[in-house]
């Protein structure tokens, strides 16, 4: 059984098929890259997995449990955590308490606030934000706010982490660090699905890649296979087809 599996996942916005009949899966311990041009339906697919939206028709199952009828908070407690394309932090709340939210509510276990703080500090240590733990989250730089989102997600003890454009807007050095972070997350036994526009980064870090275009899955395979696929080159990679080499 796959860790997460989607069958015939479809979502229409009015007459527009944002995601159209997509089958996908991810296995335990994998890093799955999700790429495609703007408007291809990548973030919509994330929203369908994390229950911001409901597929119609289609089915998404996590460890055999149908996610379709569940509200977002239950999906988080089941073990699927996510970050957002545009950061969604609690700006007036100190960094440590932002992360404590994930520990207190996202794990599905009851814990004291002391335990939650400890968990939050571990997660902050992991993303190198511990020294800033008492700063209001809104005062952080964009890169740090993205790290904070990752820490908040990690504090909820996920088995599957959805990263939506973690590296967009980061400097070269920060991208390199982020790649390292993603690998480390996987080394902790957490499965990762990531959306990324930076070809270099996603090709380097993914085990497998799914390509979406106009809501449809047009290709799937290892980074090498995908970057050699003529359909992918046509719709997406264009002149940059040699980036993976």
């Amino acid at each position: 059984m796959h860790l997460l599996e989607g069958e015939g996942v479809t979502k229409h916005f009015g007459g527009l098929a944002a995601v159209s009949d997509v089958d996908f899966y991810v296995d335990q311990g994998e890093i799955l890259g999700l790429i495609g041009p703007n408007g291809a339906g990548k973030t919509t697919l994330f929203n369908l997995i994390s229950a911001s939206l409901k597929p119609k028709p289609g089915k998404i199952a996590f460890k055999g449990v149908d996610l379709t009828p569940l509200p977002a908070y239950k999906i988080c407690r089941l073990g699927i955590a996510r970050t957002f394309q545009t950061v969604k932090i609690f700006p007036n709340v100190p960094v440590a308490r932002n992360v404590m939210v994930g520990a207190l509510f996202g794990t599905g276990r009851r814990m004291s606030s002391r335990q939650a703080l400890k968990k939050a500090e571990e997660a902050l240590e992991f993303v190198d934000l511990l020294p800033l733990k008492n700063v209001p989250a809104g005062d952080l730089t964009l890169a740090d706010q993205k790290r904070l989102e990752v820490a908040r997600a990690l504090a909820s003890d996920p088995e599957l982490l959805l990263l939506d454009e973690l590296m967009a807007g980061l400097t070269q050095t920060e991208v390199a660090e982020a790649i390292g972070d993603v690998r480390q997350v996987r080394d902790r036994g957490i499965t990762v699905i990531m959306i990324e526009h930076l070809m270099q980064a996603i090709m380097a870090v993914s085990d497998r890649i799914v390509v979406l275009d106009y809501g449809r899955k047009i290709a799937e395979g290892t980074p090498r296979e995908v970057s050699a696929d003529p359909k992918v080159i046509e719709v997406y990679l264009g002149e940059e087809c040699d980036v993976a080499s």
Partner: protein, 327 residues
């Protein structure tokens, strides 16, 4: 090494905080005791005035309990407060006074839970308008029910003595403040704040957003209902226009803003100062009263965006800075 330093720092912070907490706790206790003993020292107007203030402390603090952290601007206070009036009238003489107050709280909770299920899907100004309309809805339902079933418009309420009402109000006010402090310090306080700051992120971080909002909304309605039941016993006669007075929706909001919502003392100070200003204006300039209240409000909102509390905090910082500067 690094961890040891952070630990020490955290311990130091905690010690300072508890020292400060103890001092403010003692101050709060002294105020509670003094306010609680007022009817034994004096009678008449001071007691009446303080009971007004306590009523608005309850309404303003209960309003802030939900609307403060979540940012959902509720104008439904008068609905729950008015239902409290009606509980007092309906059960007047049939139950002991404390039981009636409790019943009013329970009815407020249940009605708010039902209404919350419907209205809390709305956001921003739509929520405010819907809760405002709710007051009119409940008022008209009661009006029609009375007309069709009992063929009356108003009801009589068995009165209690001023000091009984005062003590009841005092106890409910202490309860309201206590519950607010507990909620703010608990995990639910953090959940409420997260909802106010980014509801979607809160939901995706595992917070049951709907349940948290509904329960808090309903809890705040408990105290509003209780306050209504107590106030009703100070009037011999009530009708839907008296019970569901829209001012009771707006005044708590205005008082909370006037006092400042950053800390819980803000609404308390706001309720006290605003009630006193209102009383003074009403007796001295009965005809210009509303005009002057309006002007005071405009000035307050323009020059004190964070309320009296904000001004006090700025002054405190300035004083401390001033003291530090020569050293």
């Amino acid at each position: 090494m690094k961890t040891a330093i952070t630990k020490n720092k955290a311990g130091g912070d905690a010690a300072v905080l508890t020292g400060k907490n103890l001092a403010s706790l003692a101050l709060v206790l002294v105020i509670f005791v003094v306010v609680g003993l007022v009817p034994t020292m004096t009678q008449g107007y001071p007691v009446t005035l303080l009971s007004y203030i306590l009523r608005y402390v309850i309404l303003a603090v209960a309003w802030v309990l939900f609307s403060g952290p979540t940012g959902y601007m509720s104008l439904a206070s008068a609905a729950f407060y008015g239902l409290g009036f009606y509980m007092a009238a309906v059960f007047s003489g049939r139950m002991p006074f404390p039981v009636i107050v409790l019943v009013a709280g329970v009815v407020g909770f249940i009605v708010a839970l039902g209404v919350g299920g419907l209205t809390l899907r709305l956001k921003g100004v739509y929520f405010a308008i819907f809760t405002f309309a709710l007051v009119l809805l409940v008022q008209n339902v009661v009006l029609e029910a009375e007309r069709l079933i009992t063929h009356t418009r108003g009801r009589f309420v068995e009165t209690t003595s001023l000091s009984t009402a005062y003590y009841a109000m005092f106890i409910v006010a202490v309860l309201t403040i206590g519950v607010c402090v507990l909620i703010r310090r608990s995990r639910y306080g953090l959940a409420l704040q997260s909802i106010g700051e980014y509801e979607e992120a809160a939901a995706h971080s595992g917070i049951n957003v709907v349940r948290t909002k509904m329960l808090t909304f309903a809890t705040s309605a408990v105290f509003m209902g209780m306050a209504g039941a107590i106030v009703a016993t100070q009037r011999a006669y009530i009708d839907p226009y008296i019970a569901f007075d829209l001012n009771q929706s707006f005044l708590p909001v205005v008082m909370a803003m006037f006092g400042g919502m950053g800390l819980l003392v803000g609404p308390v100070i706001g309720a006290a100062v605003f009630t006193e200003i209102q009383e003074q204006l009403q007796t001295r300039f009965p005809n210009l009263f509303l005009l002057i209240v309006g002007m005071v409000l405009i000035v307050a909102i323009t020059f004190m965006p964070n309320g009296i509390l904000g001004v006090a905090q700025r002054a405190w910082r300035w004083l401390r800075g001033g003291r530090r500067a020569p050293a």
